[in-house]
C-alpha cells in the first residue's frame, strides 16, 4: 500500500505542467521506484537534461537528439573509414554554423565551473575537425568531391596527405591519435560489468549506418603458411610448434547492421573524448556512463533514444565530477586529492577511534577512497545497488558532499571490523566492501549530514 502511495506521489510531481524540482529531489533521494520507467525520467530531470516545463519537452528532446546524431555523423561516420558519407549527414553539414552556435551556448551552460582545460571546448574543436573527411582523403576525393570543396583545407593539401605524413595538421596523424584513445576505450567497455550479460547483448536500437569503431583498433594478425609442405616440417620443428596452443576463439562477429550495447558505449565515450579534448578519455569514465545508459536503455519508453540521451546525461554528470578525472587538478579545490582529504577529516570528526586506527596502520585514503569517490561507488556494489545509491547522489544538490557523507557512512558501518583488523585485512575490507544493504549506508549518511560539516 505504502508503495502505491509512493508511486502516486511520484506521478503527481512528474505529471505536473511544471516540475517541482526540490520536491522531486526529496522524493528521489529516498529511492526511485523501478516501475514504469520513472527512474529514467527522474534521472533526466535530476541531471538538468529535461527542462522543468513539460510543454517544451518534445521540441527540446528532438533538438538535443538531432544534435547528438550530428556529432555521430561528424565524428564517427565522417571521421571514420567510411568513404561514402550518407546524404543525410551532408544535410547536417550544410547546417553546421547554427549547430556550432547552439553548441557553444549549451557547453557554457553545462560547464558549471569553467575549466581552463576545456575552454577551447566543443565549438572550437569541431572547427578544427571541420571536414567530415578526417580520413582516407584520397579515397574521398573520388567519391565525395562536394565535401572537399566545403572543407577548410585546399584540395591540394588534402591530396598530399598520406599515412606517413608527420606534419601536425595531417589528418592521418589525428586519425592515429584517435585510435590510441579508441583502443583504450575499447578495452574498457568490453570488460564493463562482467558479472552481467546486458552490455554484451545486442541492442534493439543500433545505429546501423556507422562504421564499427572497434574494428579500427582490432589487430588482425597476419596469417602465414609455409610455401612447401616438405619444408614445413623442419620449420615447425624449429619453432616447436608441437607445443603451440590454438589461440582462444575470437568473439563471434555480430552480423552487419547490429551492434552490442558495449559498442554503443564505445561510440558515446569516443564522441565525448573528441568533444572534450581537455579531459579526453580516462579509465573509469566507462563505469560512470554504464549505469546511466543501462537505466535509459532498459526503460519501457524512449529506449530508442537511450544513446543520445545518455550522452547528455553523461555530459551533465561529468560537469560535476570531471575534475576528479583530470590529473593536473588532483590537488586543486575540486580535485580528487582534496576530496579524499575532506573525507578523512569527516571521519575524524565522526569517529576518532576508527580514524586513528587507519592512520596508525598506515592505511591511506588513496587505497580505497580514490576509487569510491572518483567512480561514484560504481565499482563497489552490484549494479542494482549502484543505481539505488545514484538515486540519492543525483538527487543531492551538492553531489560532492553527498559522496563524502556516503563514504564516511561506509567506513563507520564497518568500524567494529576495522578496529579489530590488521593492516592487510582492513585494506582488503575497504577495497572489497562486503555485500550489504545500501539503504543502511544511505540512512547512515542522512544521519551524519545533520552533524557533519564537510
Amino acid at each position: 500500500m505504502a508503495y502505491k502511495v509512493r508511486l502516486a506521489e511520484f506521478d503527481s510531481i512528474l505529471q505536473a505542467e511544471k516540475i517541482d524540482l526540490s520536491k522531486l529531489q526529496e522524493l528521489c533521494f529516498a529511492g526511485i521506484p523501478d516501475d514504469g520507467g520513472r527512474r529514467a525520467l527522474c534521472w533526466r530531470l535530476l541531471l538538468h537534461y529535461l527542462p522543468l516545463d513539460r510543454s517544451c519537452w518534445l521540441q527540446y528532446l528532438a533538438d538535443k537528439r538531432k544534435q547528438y546524431h550530428s556529432f555521430v555523423d561528424d565524428i564517427v561516420v565522417g571521421g571514420g573509414m567510411n568513404s561514402s558519407t550518407s546524404s543525410s549527414s551532408e544535410a547536417l553539414h550544410n547546417s553546421r554554423p547554427s549547430d556550432i552556435g547552439e553548441l557553444e551556448t549549451s557547453s557554457g551552460s553545462i560547464s558549471r565551473h569553467n575549466n581552463s582545460f576545456d575552454t577551447p571546448s566543443i565549438g572550437t574543436d569541431i572547427n578544427t575537425n571541420k571536414t567530415p573527411s578526417s580520413l582516407p582523403v584520397h579515397k574521398r576525393s573520388f567519391s565525395n568531391t562536394s565535401s572537399i570543396t566545403n572543407s577548410s583545407s585546399s584540395s591540394n593539401s588534402l591530396c598530399s596527405d598520406h599515412p606517413l605524413n608527420l606534419s601536425p595538421d595531417s589528418q592521418w596523424v589525428s586519425f592515429f591519435k584517435d585510435n590510441e584513445v579508441l583502443g583504450q576505450i575499447d578495452k574498457d567497455v568490453k570488460r564493463l560489468c562482467p558479472d552481467m550479460c546486458f552490455f554484451q547483448r545486442v541492442t534493439p536500437h543500433p545505429r546501423a549506418d556507422t562504421p564499427r569503431l572497434c574494428t579500427r583498433v582490432t589487430h588482425t594478425p597476419l596469417h602465414s603458411a609455409p610455401l612447401h609442405d616438405k619444408l614445413s616440417s623442419s620449420y615447425s620443428r624449429q619453432r616447436g610448434s608441437g607445443t603451440r596452443k590454438s589461440p582462444s576463439p575470437p568473439p563471434e562477429p555480430l552480423p552487419p547492421g547490429t551492434e552490442a550495447h558495449w559498442e554503443v558505449l564505445e561510440r558515446l565515450l569516443f564522441i565525448y573524448a573528441k568533444l572534450n579534448p581537455g579531459q579526453g578519455y580516462v579509465q573509469g569514465m566507462n563505469e560512470i556512463i554504464g549505469p546511466l545508459y543501462y537505466v535509459l536503455a532498459t526503460a519501457p519508453s524512449d529506449a530508442e533514444h537511450a544513446e543520445a540521451d545518455t550522452f547528455w546525461l553523461f555530459t551533465s554528470l561529468m560537469a560535476d565530477v570531471r575534475d576528479l578525472f583530470i590529473r593536473t587538478l588532483d590537488e586543486s579545490e575540486s580535485g580528487i586529492g582534496r576530496l579524499m582529504t575532506r573525507l578523512m577529516s569527516c571521519l575524524k570528526d565522526e569517529d576518532a577511534a576508527t580514524s586513528s586506527q587507519l592512520t596508525c596502520q598506515g592505511i591511506k585514503e588513496q587505497y580505497f577512497a580514490f576509487r569510491w569517490l572518483s567512480l561514484l561507488f560504481s565499482q563497489e556494489f552490484p549494479l542494482p545497488d549502484v543505481i539505488r545509491m545514484w538515486d540519492s547522489v543525483l538527487a543531492s544538490p551538492d553531489r560532492h558532499r553527498c559522496l563524502l557523507l556516503l563514504a564516511t557512512a561506509m567506513i563507520v558501518l564497518q568500524r567494529e571490523k576495522l578496529l579489530s583488523g590488521d593492516f592487510a585485512s582492513n585494506v582488503k575490507l575497504l577495497q572489497n566492501y562486503p555485500p550489504c544493504d545500501v539503504g543502511a549506508i544511505i540512512s547512515k549518511a542522512v544521519e551524519l549530514s545533520d552533524r557533519l560539516v564537510t
Binding site: 580516462v282 579509465q283 590529473r327 588513496q366
Partner: protein
Amino acid sequence: MITSAHEQLRHDHDYLVKFLALGNSGVGKTSLLYQFTEGCFNSQFTSTVGIDFKEKRLVHRCSVTGREQGVHLQLWDTAGQEKFRSLTTAFYRNTMGFILVFDLTNEQSFLDIRSWMEQLRTHAYCESPDIILVGNKVDLTEQHVVSEARARDAAFKLGVPYMEASAATGFNVTACVLALVDAVLLRMNRVVDDTRLTLGKTVSPDDEVTSVCVC
C-alpha cells in the same frame, strides 16, 4: 625499507615483502596477480582504477644459501593509465620488488617498458631496485608481435631478468613471482649480514633475524 629489515619481521618471523605490478593498461597485471594468489584465471576483470591490494604467505627456500624463510608477500596492483601515475608513484618508495608487465601481443606495451623503467628508477627506494620483466599472454602464440629474442635483448640492455608467462594458463606465473622473491630476499639477507658484521657480535641486535630460518 631494506636497512630496517628486522623491523619487517612479523607473524612468526616472516619477512614482509612488498611488490608492485606495473605496465600499460590491459597487459594483464590484475590477472597475473590473481592467478598467483588464487591459482586460477579470471577473465572478467574490469579495469583497475587506483590501486588494489592482494597478499599471500609462502615459505621460500633461498636459491643460494638454501635457507628457508617464511614470507608474507603484499602485492599491489596498479592502474595502467597515465592519469593514475601520480597516485601510484607514491607507492614506489615502499616497494621492494617490481613486476613490470607487457603484453606479447601488443607492441606499444613493449615499447613503453623503457618509460616505465625511468619512472621506476626515479621514484623507487634506490637506483637499481629488484625488477622482473614479464611478457604476458605467452599462450596466444598466433597473436604475438614481440619475439622472445627481442624481449630478451631489451631486458638485457635494461639489466633486468626476463620471463614469459601466461595468466590464462598459469604458465610461469608462480616462477616469475618467486624469482623476484628470491632476488629481494638475497638482497635483504645481504644487508642483514652486513649489519651484523659492522655491529660485531657483542651488540648483535638481530637474534631474531638469525632465527628467521624456520626449517
